[in-house]
């Protein structure tokens, strides 16, 4: 059995962006807006509707940003690791903001796509492994090297899948 740490880290930027939605809502509450303008078009909205629209936008942005934080928390909730044993691999999938420990048999995997794009002067490196298992609930799942502790963990996962997922077709991008 082999265990690979797979933990999603929180960034300061995510917390900062998480404040944007509530800020929009607070602004919409305390600063009444008479109307909205799109380019040269004035919408002539009834009183309060513009603030309502802004509040909805604020609520949606809050849902997106806070939702991402909760999804990360859920992804880390079941040990934050990928466990490889003789028959399959176990990892955490996220269902409605809850972490679900999922085990997939190697035989159920029908396609594996490895993306390994080195860093360039204009873009950052991209290293992912997407497994496709149509008979499972999640169908597809992507592992990103960015959530692994070491570069060698990515190679170890690729190596293990190459040796054990006998029914899978491999593709490298």
């Amino acid at each position: 059995m082999q265990t690979i740490n797979y933990k999603m880290e929180y960034s300061i930027l995510e917390y900062v962006f998480g404040l944007i939605g509530p800020a929009i809502i607070i602004a919409a509450i305390f600063y009444p807006i008479a109307d909205l303008k799109v380019g040269t078009l004035r919408l002539h909205l009834p009183t309060g509707v513009a603030n309502g629209i802004l509040m909805l936008i604020g609520a949606y942005v809050t849902y997106l940003t806070v939702g991402t934080l909760f999804k990360k928390r859920a992804a880390n909730s079941q040990g934050a690791s990928i466990v490889l044993d003789e028959k399959g691999l176990s990892f955490t999938t996220v269902k409605k903001f809850a972490g679900v420990l999922t085990t997939v048999s190697y035989d159920a995997i029908d396609k594996i796509t490895i993306t390994d794009i080195p860093e360039t002067s204009t873009s950052s490196a991209e290293k992912t492994i997407e497994i496709s298992a149509p008979s499972t609930a999640f169908k597809k799942f992507e592992f990103d090297a960015i959530h692994m502790a070491k570069d060698s963990d990515f190679d170890a996962l690729v190596g293990a899948l190459k040796h054990r997922a006998m029914n899978a077709a491999f593709k490298q991008i």
Partner: protein, 244 residues
């Protein structure tokens, strides 16, 4: 040309297409300068003695000697880089002397010829292991589709046989070997072909896995796979006209 010699020549077709040599005669049809450049720069062959050594090496060991070792280490899932396992397998092969003596020489301080040879071989084998790791289960062609783990475990004999035929033809053109020696090589290639391969597509897989394990994934590999696909699928290809 007898059928056995013709089959053996066809084993070198991917390589001969790559260097733009004739595909249906003993002579390559290449100019003297091209032959001298090809044999000299790429194979280090510029005399009958060097030609004999290279042909003997391809015939006896080739790259399959390293491949069989690194494939075993890779399949066993060696923890870490696998360097120690490869080194031990090289020593145990007996190619560099009696294993016990070579182990003592490696452990001893100071240089010696066997030690240098083993560590030089280790570097080549480690490069091949790195290439094998990167191409394993990723190779495919239009005729065979994706190569299975079984294809990789079958080895890379075709890669060595194909190159053996081409180097022998070039050496014959340069008069480094005589017709008798050339015929002996073709007979050996034919024997290996009939014992180890049941079709040209199977041969092509072994050749491509060998090329990829030696040189890794690059643009040239794509070109070689393209040549093999044409040889397997083109209606006028010798492989299609004379199935193995």
């Amino acid at each position: 040309m007898d059928p056995a010699a013709q089959r053996a020549l066809q084993a070198g077709l991917i390589n001969s297409e790559q260097i733009l040599a004739y595909c249906d005669s003993y002579t390559t049809g290449l100019s003297h300068d091209t032959l001298a450049e090809g044999l000299g720069s790429y194979w280090g062959v510029s005399s009958p003695r060097e030609a004999a050594e290279t042909l003997e090496w391809l015939s006896r060991y080739g790259h399959r000697f390293f491949y069989d070792i690194v494939f075993q280490v890779y399949s066993d899932g060696a923890s870490g880089e696998g360097r120690q396992e490869v080194l031990e397998a090289l020593v145990a092969s007996g190619r560099y002397g009696a294993p016990e003596i070579v182990r003592q020489q490696i452990a001893a301080q100071g240089p010696c010829e066997e030690k240098t040879l083993v560590f030089s071989a280790l570097e080549q084998a480690m490069e091949m292991l790195g290439n094998l790791r990167s191409v394993f289960r990723l190779l495919e062609d239009e005729v065979n589709g994706s190569y299975s783990p079984k294809d990789y475990s079958a080895g890379i004999l075709a890669w060595d046989l194909g190159r053996l035929v081409t180097v022998a033809r070039m050496s014959l053109d340069c008069k480094y070997i005589g017709q008798d020696e050339f015929s002996r090589i073709l007979a050996r290639v034919d024997e290996e072909l009939r014992s180890n391969f049941s079709s040209w597509p199977q041969f092509a897989k072994s050749y491509i896995i060998g090329r990829a394990s030696w040189g890794g994934q690059n643009m040239t590999l794509g070109g070689i796979i393209g040549i093999a696909e044409d040889l397997m699928a083109d209606a006028k290809s010798p492989w299609v006209l004379s199935p193995l």
